[in-house]
Point group: C2
Chain length 191, copies 2
DNA sequence: CCATTGTCAATACGACCGTATTGATATGCT
DNA sequence: AGCATATCAATACGGTCGTATTGACAATGG
């Protein structure tokens, strides 16, 4: 046996490559992602990409999953900044991050939108894309009272996110729409 | 000068090729669309496809536009079947078609979802995809009263449509969500 | 120390892609 | 009649793609 070495470095290398994928996807779409392009964007060799991911599909899947994790982290950090938040505040903060102006979030939503088309025929990607939805809707149902309203709220938010990703709506306009919808569902925020 | 010939046949040939594109996209995603695959699916030669469309991008754009036109026709036909429809009935019928069980509509929504990712970096496709939204939201604003509600309603509907396209939600469930939302916006249908 | 194993870089391979080119055939105007 | 043109089918071309292969180097456990 030999070579145990720092597993953190391994994850850092993989993450750096995944981030290159995000930049490419956000800038030029999924069809611009080739191993050579990714390697170039990340400033590494194709061999390195192959070594860590083996296959292109595995790379894309890892990239998507990591993007979701990073997004979850940003949401958690936003919630951690609230003082004595109730469930409604948590919901509002989550939506605010999804449609917020953080560049990483905006990039992630563009990535998310790009993968949506691939989720049509790739089960693994569809699972990764929609993995959090069940939990998210369950939590939302408790806040808004009705599962139909919870489902509708996230469909609305995701629809808006796609519009923003495609440049059809500004993030600010999308927030106004979702706020208006939330006020209807929950009553005005400070009441 | 010579060779004016039936322009209908030209359009029929183009439409047959576009329909092959839809089948491929709906079955295997946009990445499965190559000129050779399209020609094979349509049962024609690659030369024919090239002759009518010249370029792959032009073919995809034509396919998307024709899909939207066909969709509009199905909606119009549904509305024509209503007796003395008010504006609210027209809106409900439009949404019902988008989330209805018509196989052509379901296929079109899958195509729409596939193109969404490409709309991130292709302006022409983005324009075609979102071309009808302005008009649709304007009309909806008159029905529901508020532009924010109109925007939200279509974001919700499109979000649900994407979920259905990816197999994450059944069309029936999506209709239930949108009906529930409409009842909240407009009051129950027969009131 | 040395065998093993993780980490790559370089390159080769075969497949497929979009497009250009060429040429054949049919059609309809003059 | 004959010519211009639309309509293709067939094929060639150059490029890119994902992946496999090979080999070098480094680090480490025994």
């Amino acid at each position: 046996m030999a070579r145990k070495i720092d597993p953190d470095q391994r994850e850092q290398h993989k993450a750096a490559i995944a981030e290159a994928v995000w930049r490419l996807v956000a800038r030029s779409g999924l069809e611009a992602v080739s191993l050579r392009e990714v390697a170039g964007e990340a400033g590494v060799s194709v061999g390195r990409v192959q070594h860590y991911f083996g296959t292109k599909d595995a790379l894309l899947l890892y990239g998507l999953r990591l993007a979701q994790q990073r997004m979850e982290g940003r949401i958690r950090r936003r919630i951690a900044g609230l003082v004595a938040p109730g469930a409604e505040d948590v919901l509002r903060a989550t939506l605010a991050e999804l449609l917020g102006d953080d560049p990483d979030t905006r990039q992630a939503v563009r990535v998310w939108t790009a993968f949506l088309g691939r989720a049509l025929d790739d089960r693994a990607i569809a699972e990764a894309l929609f993995a959090d939805d069940v939990e998210l809707r369950a939590f939302t149902t408790e806040v808004v009272g009705s599962p139909l309203d919870a489902h509708g709220l996230w469909a609305l938010a995701n629809g808006l996110a796609a519009e923003v990703a495609c440049g059809q709506t500004t993030a600010a306009d999308a927030r106004a729409v979702v706020d208006h919808h939330l006020d209807r569902l929950l009553g005005s925020p400070d009441r």
